[in-house]
């Protein structure tokens, strides 16, 4: 992309941002909430809504949320956590009833609130609509909500009339849009935020689109929901490829996906899912789930799966889980297919004497081998017993895999023993040791194959040792020994020195020197490799707006510089910051990569302009957070 194009785009960006935001939801442009959908109306001398933070600030406001109406000097609304706070000469009316106070924290949906007055004493009145229970009010007054914060938003609106819908969407009338503090376009009616996403019952046309690679695309969905009873979603995707030139694949493709859940009773529910693809591929699953108690449940299911060019499979399944408390957890599942295929599994787990845990699992499978009449039969199982104490932990595993069809049996016992990290010299040094021993026994017909291996690891690390104020050292050492029957034994070890020094306030230096060595031993022969690395990092963080570091890496063994990285982040104006990442390769003697980011943090989202030199890409990213 040429620089001219980039410049044009950047200058027009303030207009693309709102258009981009709202084009993704065409309903934003003109939809007016019906009386039924409207939760609360606000009229004020000054109302401001921040799109970035989803917050409202208002002055001299009249508000209505049936059956209440109120006036106040100020209002602050934080939509996302649903905090509504009116203050300053609050006058609350309901019919002929009139109450006055200084603060009013309320919930317009539950029609409840707390009215507080500061006179000779603090008086707190709980307000509720008739027949409604008083809910605990959120005592959090939105402290972080100020007019200044809204005016520093990337996108905000100013007007004198707002509506808040039951799904907490915000509509504005005669509003002025501000982008980065600059006055932009005006709207007579505008949906400022789309509220909490809620799907409505019925058919919806999600998308009709055309692309050069996929042709004409259409997406339609049907949704039906009856609260706590039925939930059903069916989606249809259609692709018409015949409109494309030189397209070699199928002329058209249809995908249908459907999922329905029905709650018959609180402890009994069933579901049906189905998928169909026009290339003759489909599957369906029906399940019925029964919770006998909170700790015992059973599910029965039936599924049919039809792969492309293969015979379909019909599976019947049953699975059950039980938590029997001190007698442990048991689960079982079994599936049978009409072509004599079987899948079963069983597991039992329990903890004894608080520290000894036991797990037993077993499975058996009998499945087709391609289209041949033979079936593979595999029985596998495992037992795990582990004990952990304050000083050490020990665990034994036994794994068995028996291929009954191929007459192959693998048994693999293993033992793990580890000491919990322990402290030496009053916590100055922390040490850790663990050992794993594995034995394999593979029997294939009359042939038998045995192997074993043992791995021991020791690590030592020191706490930071302060030589001066702001100057510390620490040291890590590790040693590993691996031995096995085949004799591919090795010993590896290494250490890392770490130095930290605060030079001046906001500037620190970190040095790191490491040596790693791996030695292979066989009989009297010792061979191996050693590597060394010397790295230095200079960190600069003198203020909130400037943050960066630069690192260098050097290989002392070969007397060679390796690479350098630099990362700098600078706050420019408002919430814009420039971030750059540079990589220099000393071996190739060139700047390998430069990434430049121009970032605007805007509450609910982040706007990023990215330049990547390696791929020569310029990207504009709109990242919701």
């Amino acid at each position: 992309m040429s620089y001219l194009r980039i410049t044009i785009f950047v200058f027009l960006l303030p207009f693309f941002i709102p258009l981009g935001l709202f084009a993704s939801n065409p309903g934003l442009m003109n939809e007016t909430p019906t009386e039924q959908d409207n939760l609360m109306s606000l009229k004020g001398e000054y109302l401001a809504y921040s799109y970035d933070f989803n917050q409202i600030y208002g002055e001299n406001v009249e508000l209505e949320f049936s059956p209440f109406s109120a006036t106040c000097r100020h209002i602050k609304i934080d939509i996302t956590p649903k905090i509504f706070y009116a203050y300053g000469n609050v006058i609350l009316e309901k019919g002929d009833e009139k109450l006055e106070g200084d603060e009013f924290l309320f919930d317009p949906k539950a029609k409840t609130g707390t009215l507080i007055s500061y006179g000779e004493k603090i008086e707190i009145k709980e307000i509720e609509d008739e027949g409604k229970e008083i809910l605990a009010q959120k005592s959090d007054v939105p402290k972080e909500l100020t007019l200044e914060k809204i005016q520093k938003s990337l996108i905000y609106f100013i007007g004198q009339a707002f509506d808040i819908t039951t799904d907490f969407g915000v509509h504005g009338y005669n509003v002025t849009l501000f982008v980065e503090g600059l006055e932009s376009v005006k709207f007579k009616k505008f949906r400022l935020s789309s509220g909490i996403g809620k799907r409505r019952n019925g058919i919806s046309l999600n998308r009709i689109w055309y692309t050069k690679s996929q042709g004409l695309i259409g997406k339609v969905s049907y949704f039906y929901e009856k609260e706590k009873k039925v939930n059903s979603l069916t989606q249809l995707n259609y692709e018409e490829h015949s409109v494309l030139k030189d397209y070699t694949g199928l002329k058209r493709q249809v995908d249908v996906m459907s999922s329905t859940t029905i709650n018959i009773k609180e402890d009994l529910n069933l579901g049906l899912t189905g998928n169909y693809n026009s290339s003759n591929l489909w599957n369906t699953l029906f399940w019925l789930n029964k919770n006998w108690s909170k700790k015992f449940s059973t599910q029965v299911n039936f599924s049919y799966n039809k792969p492309i060019n293969l015979k379909g499979e019909s599976w019947f399944g049953l699975q059950s889980t039980a938590d029997t408390g001190k007698f442990g957890n048991i689960s079982f599942s079994g599936k049978y297919e009409l072509q004599n295929q079987i899948l079963t599994s069983f597991s039992y787990g329990n903890t004894f004497f608080k520290k000894l845990s036991f797990l037993l699992s077993s499975s058996y499978s009998q499945v087709k081998i391609g289209e041949s009449p033979d079936r593979s039969k595999i029985l596998s199982g495992g037992v795990n017993l582990s004990y952990s104490s304050r000083i050490f932990n020990v665990s034994t595993d036994y794994f068995l895999n028996h291929d009954l069809f191929g007459d192959q049996l693998l048994s693999q016992p293993q033992v793990r023993l580890g000491f919990n990290p322990f402290q030496l010299y009053r916590g100055l040094i922390s040490a850790n040791i663990y050992n794993i021993f594995i034995y394999n026994n593979l029997k294939r017909g009359e042939a038998r194959d045995e192997s074993y291996s043992n791995n021991t690891v020791l690590t030592l690390s020191t706490q930071p040792i302060f030589l001066q104020k702001g100057f510390s050292l620490n040291y890590n050492f590790s040693l590993e020994q691996f031995v096995e029957k085949e004799g591919r034994n090795f010993t590896s070890g290494g250490f890392i020195f770490n130095l930290n020094k605060n030079i001046v306030r906001g500037v620190s230096f970190q040095g790191l020197y490491s040596v790693q060595s791996r030695r292979k031993t066989k009989d009297w022969l010792i061979e191996g490799t050693t590597s060394q690395d010397l790295s230095a990092v200079l960190k600069v963080n003198p203020s909130e707006r400037l943050n960066g570091w630069v690192s260098f890496s050097y290989d002392p063994k070969n007397s060679q510089w390796r690479q350098s990285f630099a990362d700098v982040s600078v706050g420019i104006i408002r919430d814009w910051k420039l971030h750059s990442l540079i990589h220099y390769d000393f071996l190739l003697r060139k700047v390998n990569n430069v990434d430049l980011y121009l970032i605007r943090d805007a509450g609910r989202f982040q706007l990023r302009f990215v330049w990547r030199s390696l791929s020569k890409q310029f990207l504009i990213e709109f990242v919701p957070r």
Binding site: D102, I122, S184
Partner: protein, 155 residues
């Protein structure tokens, strides 16, 4: 050619950015006399034109001499008076400053600071959560709760 095209687009963009360089404002403006911040502190720095809070805290002990409630306002264009009300943990009013004139409104002030001090008495100050409430021109504008702990907890 490219240079002219670039300049044309730049000028058009700037015109758009400033909404066709319309000087007439037809959107509402916020009121004057905006509250900027409110802090509880132990000391005040009065060396500059504006006061500054020092040793900002939300927890005090009964051995502290006093609690200061400091307030900063901006864009003051009208007459304003401020009033502080201090409430003990049993929600009773223990100090009321009455209305104190901060600005006569005869000239615009970009910023103004003010504070009130609650004297603590080691023997008689109740421990628990206190509340200080501030009124501007008889309208509630802010409150700040704070804790008074036993002096033995003082660090």
């Amino acid at each position: 050619m490219k240079r002219y095209l670039f300049l044309s687009v730049l000028v058009m963009s700037l015109i758009f950015l400033w909404d066709c360089i319309s000087l007439k404002r037809d959107y509402p403006l916020p009121s004057e006399n905006q509250l900027v911040s409110i802090h509880l502190c132990k000391k005040i720095d009065d060396s500059g034109d504006l006061l500054k809070p020092l040793d900002i805290k939300s927890e005090f002990t009964s051995k502290d001499d006093s609690v200061i409630c400091f307030i900063r306002l901006k864009d003051i264009g009208t007459k304003i008076d401020l009033r502080w009300k201090w409430y003990s943990p049993d929600k009773k009013l223990v100090r009321d400053t009455g209305n104190i004139i901060v600005s006569q409104g005869d000239r615009y002030l970009a910023a103004a600071t003010a504070y009130d001090r609650l004297q603590l008495d080691a023997e008689n100050t109740a421990e628990g959560q206190w509340t200080v409430v501030i009124f501007m021109n008889d309208k509630f504008i802010a409150k700040k709760p704070f804790q008074i702990s036993p002096s033995s907890l003082r660090l």
